[in-house]
Symmetry: none
Subunit: 309 residues, 2 copies
DNA sequence: CATTGCTTGACAATACTTAGACATGGAGTT
DNA sequence: AACTCCATGTCTAAGTATTGTCAAGCAATG
């Protein structure tokens, strides 16, 4: 956005109030008392705020809410306000710390083989943080930790199985909450291809997409290609997402993916995620699929797809 | 579509009004006052709008509806209007919009007396946004709307009862998720005093506190003072929170609150919330209780208590 | 001829502006 | 504890600006 655009006077008081979460009263009071901003005026004398004004007021409100007094804040230039807001975020809370607490509580419970407690911790985390944050900061971290503990030998197969069962239950529960999401969303099929028995990645992706408003059909793990194809065609999907964790990408899998890719409607996108997919990125490119390296990537890609409609 | 086609004058006022969602009156007023468009004229002098005109008017209406003032918009070229319309979706920012969507979906469901759908919407909102945001932006707004609709007569008693049942179920579900929160949190008792049969405020407070990590004992509505006292003492609470919505604060209630306040351990704080509590702030101050006006207030107060330990 | 549209002028409802007053709650002081 | 002072959010009142709506009288359309 060019500077001339950002500093062009545009927004009325009412609009500015909406954008900043302040009230017109407060906007005028702050201006009168502290000159926090000096909006331009219309021909008739009404205030016209620029984008920069709005940005500044947003920051001021945030800092004011957290206890700084507005009289002092008023004199501070925009750049410094931005820095303060960033610092505030790190210092004060909150989300980061809490997410970490949940992760370690989950790992503890898994270590103690306390499935009920693990489930409670995960449900609490999901509900407290909201699904997107839960997936990003708790679920994926916990899975990584458990996987790592398993490969290092500090966690046994029993631990891994317990975690598997509980995670599947919790993610399934969330997915079911989004169940009848209605007609609004674009459609997506999620599964893992044949011999891929690790379904976590797929579950995470399914839940992430559902939380973004997609109408997700989760087909589960180890699914024959023809099944995936016929489901996708029958439902009329905008995309198919597969998770590939293990075993490594071999000739059979490549052939399967080729079949799938060429069998899909051209408007439907094929997306591949998971550790093995990232590792074999180059070879997989031949299938015409998009490789996503993280949940964030996946979300971004979904977004782009949705815009394109 | 070729330019000559798009800019060819074609549509009558009536048609243009239908296409843009404006009225012929407004079309003429906007043209007379701001020259928002300058349609061609027929031989007899009647307006003939082109496709481009219609497109421009559509955008203008959209932006005008969202609070921009038409006098300012009128001078902006088409391309910039398009950009603004796109930005508008982003500017009215992510979380807020999603929360708003959930609120209106909830209100819709309540209007249709579709309890199952209402429950699904609320659960989805809670899980998507996380409990704190859900309480602040969906639950309290929906309750306010429903209460308002009821007092205005646009919603019947049946609507109100349905909403009551569903909200109680959903909030109860969340509360139960936090159930065995363990040893970490300070303890809090939440209830409504005798004759206070509206338990929403209390439920909201209970859930908010639980999400903040408190060990909450929710005792429900219409509870005799001795019961509250003995529970509080037995559990060893840091605070007691009561919701007072209706009826108004009278002598009996004042006496009850005095009894409660003096019976509590001095280290335990008594907190009063709800519409009636805010209204009777002055008289209630005599009880030594803290009056909280909003969920945010309540959270802040809990925070202070927790720090002080 | 009935319907629709044109122009001009007026009116009313919002929304905005300024100046000032008031209430509250925290910080200091006595 | 009682007191004042100050910072700040909220409200009022009276005037102005903006904008939607309407009416009257005439013209065009079909």
């Amino acid at each position: 956005m060019s500077t001339s655009t950002a500093s062009a006077p545009r927004h009325s008081v009412r609009l500015t109030a909406l954008r900043t979460g302040l009230t017109p009263h407060i906007l005028r009071a702050w201006e009168r008392r502290y000159q926090v901003v000096t909006p331009a005026r219309s021909d008739g004398g009404q205030r016209l705020y620029s984008d920069l004004d709005v940005e500044r007021l947003r920051l001021l409100r945030g800092l004011s809410d957290r206890g700084h007094n507005i009289g002092t804040l008023a004199k501070i230039p925009l750049a410094d306000l931005e820095r303060m807001a960033r610092e505030e975020e790190v210092a004060s809370d909150g989300a980061g710390v809490r997410a970490h607490d949940f992760s370690s509580a989950a790992l503890d419970a898994a270590r103690r083989l306390d499935g009920a407690e693990l489930q409670r911790v995960l449900e609490r985390a999901a509900v407290t943080l909201g699904v997107p944050a839960f997936l990003d900061e708790v679920a994926s971290a916990a899975l990584r930790n458990i996987g790592q503990g398993w490969s290092e030998g500090t966690l046994s197969v029993a631990h891994e199985h317990l975690a598997t069962v509980v995670f599947r239950r919790v993610l399934g529960w969330i997915l079911q909450l989004y169940g009848a999401n209605g007609v609004g969303g674009s459609r997506l099929v999620v599964a893992t291809p044949p011999r891929q028995t690790h379904e976590f990645g797929a579950l995470l992706a399914a839940v992430a997409a559902a939380a973004e408003g997609w109408d997700v059909r989760y087909l589960g793990a180890d699914l024959p290609i023809p099944e995936i194809l016929s489901s996708a065609r029958q439902i009329g999907v905008s995309a198919v997402a597969l998770s590939i964790v293990y075993p490594e990408v071999d000739a059979t899998l490549m052939a399967d993916l080729q079949t799938l890719s060429s069998g899909l409607d051209p408007s439907a996108k094929l997306m591949l995620g998971g550790a093995a997919a990232s590792a074999a990125r180059e070879r997989l490119n031949a299938t015409g699929a998009e490789i996503v390296d993280s949940l964030g990537d996946f979300r971004a890609s979904l977004h782009r797809l949705q815009q394109r409609i």
